[in-house]
């Protein structure tokens, strides 16, 4: 079965540092989504990528989807304590079904 692998599983960084989270699929994806779960809230949609080579940014968070549409990276610049949480990638497989799959999540802690 198709799966999404996320790395690293957990990350602790000093405030102000940059960081990258990766999400990899063994097969081409139709759409790739990034979410964040912050303490006290449900999953929050960050951004969606659909085109090979696409890159989107929101505030200090940038997400990229590679040309093959099999790997995405989420990059946070100058991290802040407010960035702490669990980052989850999700995807719609290219099989044409709606069976969404999710990565295992990356736990990010930002030290002030």
């Amino acid at each position: 079965s198709q799966e999404l692998e996320q790395s690293p599983q957990s990350l602790i960084v000093q405030e102000g540092k940059n960081l990258t989270i990766n999400c990899t699929s063994s097969k081409t994806l139709y759409g790739l989504y990034w979410y964040k779960q912050k303490y006290g809230e449900g999953l929050i949609f960050l951004m969606m990528l659909q085109k090979g080579g696409e890159e989107k940014s929101h505030e200090k968070i940038t997400a990229k989807l590679d040309e093959k549409k099999q790997q995405s990276s989420l990059h946070i610049t100058a991290s802040q304590p407010s960035h702490a949480g669990i980052y989850l990638c999700g995807a719609e497989p290219y099989s044409g079904t709606y069976k969404y799959i999710f990565g295992t999540g990356t736990r990010l802690k930002v030290l002030a």
Partner: protein, 118 residues
């Protein structure tokens, strides 16, 4: 062990009809979450239950949407007088303790119910 299950997997209904979606969380999980994913959009958080209580219902799109959970287990999401814009995949997730508990808790997702309103 068994994961989160949802039923039905697909539902096609006519505009104006009521629908009921069911979620069976992982046994022993206190928290249960409902999300919606519309075509071309990300997951939208709808509601979450801590036991049988829903501390925050503000994520529900309109008063046509309601959800309940009984016995700290099964949950149903009901949509009354369905509209075409309700068409989406409805996802349920559960976690051991919930938002009021562990900070780094993983949510386990069900396969979703695909709702199509004609």
């Amino acid at each position: 062990g068994a994961g989160v299950s949802q039923s039905p997997s697909n539902k096609v209904t006519e505009k104006g009809k009521d629908v009921e979606l069911r979620c069976d969380p992982i046994s022993g999980h206190t928290a249960l979450y409902w999300y919606r994913q519309s075509l071309g959009q990300g997951l939208e958080f709808l509601i979450y239950f801590q036991g049988n209580s829903a501390p925050d219902k503000s994520g529900l799109p309109s008063d046509r949407f309601s959800a309940e959970r009984t016995g700290g287990s099964v949950s149903t999401l009901t949509i009354q007088r369905t509209q075409q814009e309700d068409s989406a995949v409805y996802l349920c997730a559960s976690s051991e303790v919930g938002l009021a508990g562990a900070e780094w808790e993983t949510q386990y997702f069900g396969p979703g119910t695909r709702l199509l309103v004609l």
